[in-house]
Amino acid sequence: MPPESVNPTLSWNVARDLGEVLEYHFMINALLAGSIVAVMAGLVGWVMVLRRQAFAGHTLSMMAFPGASGAALVGVPAAWGYFAFCGAGALAIGRFSGRGPGSPSEQGARIGAVQAAALALGFLFVSLYGGVLGDLESLLFGNILAISDGQVLALAAVALAVLAALCTLARPLLFASVDPEVASARGVRVSRLSGGFLLLLGAAVAATSQITGPLLVFALLVAPPAAAQLITARPAVSLVLTVLLGLLIVWLGMGIAYYSVYPAGFFISAIAFAVYLLARVSVALQGRRAGARAAEARTLEALA
C-alpha cells in the first residue's frame, strides 16, 4: 500500500517503527485526517445510532455517487459534489420523511426512494459525462494515502463547524430524539431539529467519505457508537468511549495497512466489525441478555 520506494518491515522496536511511519508526510496527513474524521463521525454517529437513522445515514453516503459524477460533469472537485449532494439529500430525506401520514415502515420506503433517485441521477450524470469516471476503486473506497495538506485543513474546518453546531443543538436534539412527543409539547421544534441534524449528518458523511470512501463510512459512523452504547449506559462515558474506539479503529487500521499490501479501508472496516462483535459478545457473556435493552432505556432516562 505505501509507494513503491517504501519497503516497510515490522521490527521489535516499536519506537523505531513509529518514527519510521511518521517520517512520511503522507502518513502524517493520513493519520491527521483519519483522527479528525474518527472524532467527528463518532460523535455525530452517536446521535444517529440513538435516533436510529442508520438507513438515512447510509442513503446520505450513497449521495457520493451523484456527487462525484455530477462534479466530474460540471468540472469541479469531487469533494464539492459530495457536500452539495449530501446536503441536498439531507433536505430531501427530512422533507419527505417528516411529512404526511405513513407508518415508520413507510418512512423506510421513502428513504429508499430518495436513495434510488440519487443513484439514478448518478447514472444519468455518468452517461452524460461519457468518459471514464476517474479511479472507480478510490471513488468507492477512498484513498487515504493521497490526502493533501489543504484537505486536512478543510476537514478540520468542517469538523469544527459540525461539532460546534452539534454542541449548540445537543440539548434540544437529545430531548427530541428520546421523547419527541413530550419535547414537541414543551415547544421544541422537533421537525426542524430533525432536519438540522440530517444536514449535520450529511456533512459528516461527506467528510468521512473522503477517508473511507462512501461504501465504508459506517465503519466509523456506526460501529464505534453502537459498541459504546452497548457497553455503557452513561451518556458521557459512552461518548468518550465512542471517540476512543473510533481513534483506535483508524490508527490500528492504518498502522496495519502500512505494513500490508491491502488497503486501509479493508482493515478499518474489519476492525470496526470486530469491535462491535466484541461488544455484543461481552454484553451477552455478562449474562445481561436484557442488558442492552435496559442500558438503552437507562440512557434514554438519563438524557431526558
Binding site: 445510532v49 436510529r52 437513522q53 442508520a54 438507513f55 445515514g57 447510509h58 404526511g100 401520514p101 405513513g102 407508518s103 415508520p104 415502515s105 413507510e106 423506510g108 420506503a109 421513502r110 428513504i111 429508499g112 426512494a113 436513495q115 434510488a116 433517485a117 443513484l119 439514478a120 441521477l121 447514472f123 444519468l124 455518468v126 452517461s127 452524460l128 476503486e137 473506497f141 461504501l215 465504508l216 463510512v217 459506517f218 465503519a219 456506526v222 460501529a223 453502537a226 499490501v261 491491502y262 488497503p263 479501508g265 479493508f266 478499518i268 472496516s269 474489519a270 470496526a272 466489525f273 462491535y276
Partner: protein, 277 residues
C-alpha cells in the same frame, strides 16, 4: 422497437424481475425491511468476487452471498420482531445498526478481494469477469432473459404461496406464533427469497433498479389501498409499468440510461400517489 432483439429481451426479463420486486416489495415495506433489501443488493458484488477468488462460478457466489445474508438478517431480526409484539414494522431500527455494520464489513471484504485480484497473478481477470457479470439491461442475451423471467415468476409464485401466513406473522406475530404459524421460519425464508430477487436483479438488470423497484411501487400501493390482495397486485403492476415505460423512454431518448428512466417513472408514480392521498 420490438424488432430489436435486445429490446425484447430487456422487456421480458425486466417485466418479470419488476413483478417479483413489486410483489416482494409490498411485504418488504409492510415489514419495514427496506434497508435490509438495500443491504442485500450491496453484498452481491463481494459475493461474486469471493467466488472468483475461490475459483468457483461467480453466479454461485452471488446467490449464496445474498441468500445467506438475507437469512442472517432474518435470524438477527426475529427476536426483536416478536419482542415488539405486533405493530406493522418487522425490524426495529436497532436491527438497522447491525445491518449497517455487517454489510459494511462485507463491503470491506469486497475491497480485500478487489485488491487480491489486482496484485495477484490472475491480474484483472477476476474483476473483469465480475464487471461483465453485472450487466446492463439492454445487454441481455435471449437465454439470460428467459432465465431471469423464469426466476422472477418462480419468486412471485413462492411469495404468493407463503403470502397468507407471512401477512399474519407480520401484522400479529404473537397471535400467529400462538396459532402455530412458524413466524421465525417465515421471516428467515422471506428474506432469503428477497436475497434471490436481489441476486437475480443485480446481475440481470443492475443493482440500482432493485432498491427503486422494491421501495417505490410498493410504497405507492400501500398508500393507494389498504386491501392486501389489491395492494400486492397493484405493487406488482406498478413495478412492471415503471419498467416498461422506463425502457420505452430510454429507447426513445438516446441520452437517457435505462436504469435512470425506470427509477424516474417509479418515483414519479410514488410522488403522484403521495399527492393523491
Amino acid at each position: 422497437m420490438l424488432s430489436h432483439e435486445f429490446m425484447r429481451n430487456a422487456l421480458l426479463a425486466g417485466s418479470f424481475v419488476a413483478l417479483a420486486c413489486g410483489v416482494c416489495g409490498w411485504f418488504v415495506v409492510l415489514r419495514g425491511q427496506v434497508f435490509a433489501g438495500d443491504a442485500l443488493s450491496h453484498v452481491a458484488f463481494p459475493g461474486a468476487l469471493a467466488a472468483a477468488a475461490a475459483g468457483i462460478d461467480q453466479r454461485v457466489g452471488l446467490f449464496v452471498a445474498t441468500v445467506a445474508v438475507g437469512a442472517g438478517i432474518g435470524l438477527l431480526g426475529r427476536g426483536v420482531l416478536v419482542a415488539r409484539g405486533g405493530g406493522a414494522g418487522g425490524s426495529t431500527p436497532a436491527d438497522d445498526t447491525a445491518i449497517g455494520i455487517v454489510f459494511t464489513f462485507i463491503l470491506g471484504l469486497g475491497l480485500f478481494f478487489l485488491t487480491l485480484f489486482s496484485i495477484g497473478s490472475a491480474g484483472g481477470a477476476g474483476i473483469q469477469a465480475a464487471h461483465t457479470l453485472f450487466g446492463s439491461i439492454f445487454g441481455l442475451g435471449a437465454g439470460e432473459a428467459r432465465l431471469a423471467a423464469v426466476i422472477g415468476f418462480a419468486i412471485v409464485v413462492l411469495v404468493v404461496l407463503i403470502g397468507r401466513p407471512l401477512m399474519f406473522a407480520t401484522l400479529a406475530p404473537d397471535v400467529a406464533a400462538a396459532r402455530g404459524v412458524p413466524t421465525r421460519l417465515l421471516g428467515v425464508g422471506f428474506l432469503a427469497l428477497v436475497g434471490v430477487v436481489a441476486a437475480e436483479a443485480t446481475q440481470a438488470v443492475g443493482a440500482l433498479l432493485l432498491l427503486g423497484l422494491l421501495a417505490a411501487p410498493a410504497a405507492a400501493a400501500h398508500r393507494l389501498t389498504g386491501d392486501p390482495l389489491a395492494g400486492i397486485a397493484l405493487a406488482g403492476l406498478l413495478a412492471v409499468l415503471s419498467m416498461v415505460v422506463g425502457l420505452v423512454l430510454a429507447y426513445t431518448v438516446p441520452w437517457l440510461p435505462p436504469s435512470t428512466a425506470v427509477i424516474a417513472v417509479a418515483i414519479a408514480i410514488y410522488g403522484l400517489s403521495a399527492l393523491r392521498s
